[in-house]
Structures are given as structure tokens and as C-alpha cells.
Amino acid sequence: MNDTTAHAAGGGMGDLAPGQQDKNPKDFAAGLRSYLVGLALAVGLTIASFWAAQTHLIYAPGVSAALIALAIAQMGIHLVFFLHITTGPDNTNNALALAFGILIVFLVVVGSLWIMSNMNHMSVAMGESMHMQP
């Protein structure tokens, strides 16, 4: 069975490989325009990140949150414009795998930080109580 009939009958189940922009390659100009939009957005977000880290215009404790928000936005730009992972029906499998990956990344990073800060608190408290003993 060749590719076109598989696509026609597949009914929107994982029809695009990750990184595949379109089933039938568009003309070069349209593809280039999409990459240029992605590049412009990524450059803008990168400049914003470096600016946010060095400026004093942003309320200081909020800078980390701003940097994380900018980084997540830029990763989204890369995923959509460079890796062509979208939420379209021909991308379901790719997006679901990505969602599972994000879940695991979130669990590993946030879980580690949470547990280790908790343990730091506990060991500080224990150190102090040991000092207090005669």
C-alpha cells in the first residue's frame, strides 16, 4: 500500500512524522517564510531574556519567573516552527508523546527541588538543635 492511500484512509491518526511540515512539501518560499517567522520570534525572546536578566526595571524577585516564562515561550516557538509539533489531528501521536515527556521532566525537576529543599530545612533544624545541646 503506498503512502497516499494510507494517508487518505488513515483518518488523521499520526499522519505526519515529527519534523514534517506538510504531507506534500509546500513550495520553498512558504516553508522559508515559516522558518523566518520562527527565527524572528526566537531572536526576540532571546533578546528579551538577556535584557530581563540584566535590567533593573523588573521587580527583582520576579526576574526568575520572567526568565522561566520567556524560556518556555521560546521552547514552544522552537517546537512549532522548527520541529513542527502542533496540536493538529495529524500530529496526535507526536503531541501525546511530548506531553508524556513534559510530565516526566516536570516530575523529575520539581520533585527533586521540593524534596531537597525539604531535606535542607530538616538538616538545618537538626544542626541547630544539636548545637543547643550542652
Binding site: M1, A6, G14, P18, F28, G31, Y35, H78, F82, A97
Partner: protein, 225 residues
């Protein structure tokens, strides 16, 4: 000669191994032979590589978690704010982003089956990636020279592990890139070569995504605190 009366009946489940699936069963009873048929190889290969990339990102998340936990553990040694040169990081970021963009151009050229443009864009991708790698190696050498090597403190151990792991991926990607250019030159746009190329482009774009996380978490936040 008489034919035997008893005809062997095979179990009708398509999941039993050894069944000559297509001949004996209805087409849509067999996995991958249902309505629409098996997915094209381009999708199967790409999806498998996408799963690998996600597991690679999960591995990186463990390095990020270690760095985030240990970033304050300087053991009396230099901290991130004293060590990192933001100008250097800006140039590295620009190199890698433009390299990723050139890789996108090469992908378009492969879809157009334009060999000269493909090779040119891949060469630009490789040179920018190499510039990134050279800047990173230069930074590492500078750190070790000022007694801030990976053995100095837990902070620096986790820093070299995380950023070094990304650098090792870039190195592997550059080797792969050279191989792809040679294969495209020698074998042209054969279907399997194109599949390999598309996997490489996914790999290269994913490395740029990881670099976004590194320059944010390691460099910008490190210089900030």
C-alpha cells in the same frame, strides 16, 4: 491418493505468532493491516526517533535537577556570578540559533531535492555548530585554568556535567552532520538517506531547545543571584 479428511484449523486470533496474516485473515483483523494499512516508514522512523529524543530530554532533566539542587553548594569556591561571562553566552546562543535555522533551510532543500542548497545549508549548520563548540571548550579551559574545574565544588561538578553533556551531544551531532553530507554526496536523495537526514534535523533542533533551558537556568539565573 486421497486428501486427508481433517483440515487443520488455525486459531483465529491475529495476535498468535506465526500466522500467515494477510492471506488467511480479513485485512482489518491484523495489527498494522487494518483500514489504511501500515504507517509509511517515514512516520514510523520519525516517531521512533522522536521517542528517543524525548527520553534524551528526560535524561537532561535529571542533570538540570542536580544542577538546580547544587547550584548554591560552592564549598567556599567561586559562584556562578563570579565565573560566567554573559557576552560569551550571547555569542554561543546566536551561533546555535542560526545553526538551527540553517538546518531548517537544509530540510526545505531536501524536500525540494536540491543537492547544492542542501549541502550549502548543512555546511553553514556545521560551521555555526562548530563555532558554538569552540566557544564552549574555550570557556571550559578558562574555568579550569582559574582553578574552577569540575572537582572544585558540587556546583561546578553539576555545571560541567550538565553543560558538558550538551556539548557532547553537539559533538555527536557534528559527526552525524558530516556523515550526512558525505552520504548525500555519495548516494543522493535515496529514501533511506532522507529519513536519516530528517532524524538528524530533529536531533539538531532538539539540542537548541535544551540550550534555551541551559542559558536560562545556568547562565542568566546564575549571574542574577
Amino acid at each position: 491418493m486421497s486428501t486427508p479428511d481433517i483440515v487443520l484449523r488455525l486459531p483465529s486470533s491475529p495476535r498468535v505468532l506465526g500466522l500467515p496474516a494477510a492471506e488467511t485473515l480479513e485485512a482489518d483483523e491484523v495489527t498494522g493491516h487494518g483500514e489504511g494499512g501500515p504507517a509509511p516508514k517515514r512516520i514510523v522512523v520519525g516517531y521512533g526517533f522522536w521517542i528517543f529524543l524525548l527520553s534524551d530530554i528526560v535524561m537532561f532533566s535529571a542533570f538540570f535537577a542536580a544542577y538546580a539542587v547544587l547550584s548554591a553548594a560552592t564549598a567556599g569556591g567561586p559562584s556562578a556570578a563570579q565565573l560566567f561571562d554573559i557576552r560569551n553566552v550571547q555569542i554561543e546562543t546566536a551561533c546555535l540559533l542560526l545553526s538551527s535555522f540553517c538546518c531548517g533551510i537544509a530540510t526545505l532543500a531536501v524536500e525540494q531535492r536540491n543537492l547544492r542548497l542542501t549541502q550549502g545549508a548543512l555546511l553553514a549548520t556545521g560551521l555555526l555548530g562548530f563555532a558554538f563548540l569552540a566557544l564552549e571548550v574555550h570557556e571550559f579551559i578558562g574555568l579550569v585554568a582559574q582553578d574552577a574545574g569540575p572537582s572544585r565544588s558540587a556546583f561546578l561538578s553539576s555545571f560541567f556535567a550538565l553543560v558538558g553533556c550538551h556539548g557532547a551531544h553537539i559533538t555527536a551531532g557534528l559527526l552525524w552532520l558530516g556523515t550526512m553530507m558525505a552520504q548525500l554526496y555519495a548516494k543522493g536523495f535515496r529514501a533511506d538517506i532522507c529519513r536519516r537526514y530528517f532524524c538528524f534535523s530533529l536531533f539538531w533542533h532538539a539540542l537548541d531547545i535544551i540550550w534555551v533551558a541551559i542559558f536560562t537556568v545556568v547562565y542568566l539565573m546564575g549571574v542574577r543571584t
